[in-house]
Subunit: 631 residues, 2 copies
Amino acid sequence: MDSDFGIPRELSELQKLRSLYQPGLPPCLQGTTVRVEFGDATTCADPADVHAISRAFPHTYGQPLAHFLRATAKVPDAQIITDHPDVRVGILFCGRQSPGGHNVVWGLQNALKIHNPKSTLLGFLGGSEGLFAQKTLEITDEILETYKNQGGYDLLGRTKDQIRTTEQVKAALNACKDLKLDALVIIGGVTSNTDAAQLAETFAEAKCQTKVVGVPVTLNGDLKNQFVETNVGFDTICKVNSQLISNVCTDALSAEKYYYFIRLMGRKASHVALECTLQSHPNMVILGEEVAASKFTLFDLTKKICDAVQARAEQDKNHGVILLPEGLIESIPEVYALLKVIAFVSPPLATFGNEIHSLLKQGVAPDSISSQLSPWASALLEFLPPFIKRELLLHPESDDSAQLSQIETEKLLAHLVEAEMNRRQKEGTYKGKKFNAICHFFGYQARGSLPSKFDCDYGYVLGHICYHILAAGLNGYMATVSNLKNPSNKWRCGAAPITAMMTVKHWAQSPGASSIGKPAIHPATVDLKGKAYELLRVNAGRFLMEDLYRNPGPLQFDGPGADSKAVSLCVEDQDYMGRIKKLQEYLDKVKNIVKPGCSQDVLKAALSVMSSVTEVLSVMSSTSSDGQTTL
Amino acid sequence: MDSDFGIPRELSELQKLRSLYQPGLPPCLQGTTVRVEFGDATTCADPADVHAISRAFPHTYGQPLAHFLRATAKVPDAQIITDHPDVRVGILFCGRQSPGGHNVVWGLQNALKIHNPKSTLLGFLGGSEGLFAQKTLEITDEILETYKNQGGYDLLGRTKDQIRTTEQVKAALNACKDLKLDALVIIGGVTSNTDAAQLAETFAEAKCQTKVVGVPVTLNGDLKNQFVETNVGFDTICKVNSQLISNVCTDALSAEKYYYFIRLMGRKASHVALECTLQSHPNMVILGEEVAASKFTLFDLTKKICDAVQARAEQDKNHGVILLPEGLIESIPEVYALLKVIAFVSPPLATFGNEIHSLLKQGVAPDSISSQLSPWASALLEFLPPFIKRELLLHPESDDSAQLSQIETEKLLAHLVEAEMNRRQKEGTYKGKKFNAICHFFGYQARGSLPSKFDCDYGYVLGHICYHILAAGLNGYMATVSNLKNPSNKWRCGAAPITAMMTVKHWAQSPGASSIGKPAIHPATVDLKGKAYELLRVNAGRFLMEDLYRNPGPLQFDGPGADSKAVSLCVEDQDYMGRIKKLQEYLDKVKNIVKPGCSQDVLKAALSVMSSVTEVLSVMSSTSSDGQTTL
């Protein structure tokens, strides 16, 4: 089967046209000179985590930001790299396939060859397993031919996508040494990039010459922080899903007899569901983050939906479309504990779940498990309808992502809502048509899509940045592009240490005692104070009652819609990297004005102002520390 | 809620662009003169049915074909209609919404206004229910503004979509009389067009002035016969589904660990599944028609899939994509009887199903039904996994289409295949990875799509033809376009009596006795001797083993793929209407050559040749009669 990777494929007319598309490069990546400017040493978002992270990553924590500049930029301290020896680079896909991933490989290969045609790019076949087993394919122009701007990860494939155990890390180290790699590029989401940071640290410790670079590619859109505005694939996934959601909305409005419950892939966070709502205007969306923040129970959610159905029926509307994120189920407090058996086991909370897990391991039949659980777990389990019980119990060994996507939350809620609407109808409080639900899960059918123009461009540019990172000799960095909502010739390219994106989870284990997790990049959840959520909040009432359905249409590559970007990307006022640079400029200006020799008055004024500035910032930093994982 | 119909909608950028698209008209429909040529009186495909159909439709059976001609066409007998009094026409949507339906309304409205600006088009709100209740909306340019080239049926809505009972037919007659309609246009599939024929007959009998016209619009693509090459909506549905299937194929190839079982909407016939297979090249498709022809049992199907999984595993391929048509379940012999409870009850076979139905009516709880059935029905029911049992039992009252789409055949087969693969693995005959299935149903998410260019054009042209039919004073006709695989300026426009498309079902009830059904248009099944199926057959082996996945990409409106047409439309050598005209020309030529006064030798030669021609044709006609419903 390995021989199937990288073989030319039969392309459709449209695929052929797409394979000829050449993404543009921002000015800073053009030419053959790499110009890098280093910013200040980085910290992490939460000052409370500094100790834990710096201790876990002694070699790679606190490294400076890197900005890549255009050849003509007048920055005196920029390091100019004109010497490009031939290098050997390895690259692999980790985790769920995401549209645009192939373009990272293409971008990197292109950058390598531009700077030195003798350089070599080795793709690892079958993800991390291929890395451990040192199965490689040399990436050439010929091989890329039918994969440029195409979806999927089938150029190289992927497998388990974990580089975490001592054994796995050792195998990766050996592979990089044996293959004499100058750099290893890991394409993936939060987990894979955390693994990349760990690998970088281990390599530095072991004095291995291979630099490790991470690339933010994940359809979930949850690798989001000060440095990373969005991920490769998110744009496409949202466009493909929005098309389908809109089709279902049109359908609902035509037949006027169904409520559609649509669950969207996207792991724990609800970014995909939020973005699709902003694009398609379905009647309702239930974000996991809202549920978690309000501590809604299953009963509350059911009631909320039923009230909406009833209110609509009073306006003679007996149809509707309701979106649910994949991670919703995890956010419902009473289901959360039971789910721990499946989701990755976080030490202090694993106990409830482990009850089921260990019973299954002892060979207890799933049907008789309920009677052997502690009373409350058993009561909860018995409350759930049989098909959900089965889904919870039958696959405890599979990996967490497959698991989460196989729990049919949409059916659970439709089932509970139907029961409640029937009750209300009997009782006489609901007078609409008989409630009819149709359930959908939109996941796999979007993941393999042809990438949107945005994702083609973003992936390709990130691939180029990987080369610049390696040329600058950086280890443990992630390639970043900011200012993404503007056209690609305005994009700012850089690199940030992965450790600067990490946080540490704290749990109150028992009164007085607390435990902390390993530093990691955690999935960014939807910011309930952010602008994208605000846009939803102010429109939710009208979306619910007025059927303002909007159909962005099928993914286009030309004409209207082809250059549209995610609503949530465009409304957020991000550009963190740009602002960091701006601040640096102000500080430099102050230094220049208050040089030794300046007047006493200027110095006194500077001291006075700076003292109050630092005081305000210290206070703000310490208050922001008790809180959110993400900005 | 009725007030919501026809209101302007917020359109996305792409939708706006599409709303400006102007479909072209073939030359024969241009200008303000209607030129119609009548062909010979029509019969029906099977000579054995003539008696039953002509008896049921004394006023509308045997009417001639009508061909609409360009203004410059030199056809001496063509009737030229230049006088266009203002007329009142009603139009309604019946049955499952299908992309392009709105364009029929637009085309008709446009044709009406071109020929007489005082003419009125009334849309019935909410399908047949709106017709009975005489709820109308006058279709104007303003109202059409945001519905041109858009998906769904939300301009007018639709409801139960049946005009069959005496009461319903009477209500329809009253509506047409009260509203003084010159014509009633019914947009729908096989059932609705059968209803249209019945209505035409009743109206003629009642000397009602309203002419009834049918338009072939159904996503199932099963209104296919000598006169109708394909249906409005089929092209779009296949393109949207093919995109998703291809995405899933790419996904399968990237992750290499799942088998995807995808069920496609399309009712009893497997046209959608066949077309999608020809576009996307998944590993396997199981057509209902193949299963019915080979009398495959559930066990046979499971074995067939398992053998394929095993053969692929031997080549180290542990992934795949398998398509199943919605109607497959009906085609499996042993499930067929049980399903009769849900599908429309055909008298002689209803007994098994009716067992369940009547027990439910008596208030027997679904769980205890099995014990009260006859032994064989009970055994079959108990063999099925619980979720399928529930789906079979719990909704016996809902309409057959909803029912069929809610039986999760894909899960049933995945379940059976998984059990068998696990057995083979234990036994040691299967040595591949653990079998992992993911199930999808693609239906509602395609139905509301923006229509493809083909469906926009086809729907619009059919709308125009409706006006020509009405101007020619025809009743009980369906608007037809032939030569569809060529560009629209080569399309041939006409009209065929709906009765000419009917067949009669015969059942052997008991030895010696047989019973016949009502004449109706029956869904055309996939022709296992046709070219489209042959194309599948010769490639099936390679599709199965070689992963020749092909991604037509998302529906495009410009550039490559925008003008592509269904593979099954293009490979079939149809143009029946063109050939009928060609034959007429030959017969006319013979008449001209062998005019009274010609030589004895010429006459003798003509008689000799014609005698053998008629003999050959008689023999062929009688053998073709015992067989297929469709050509």
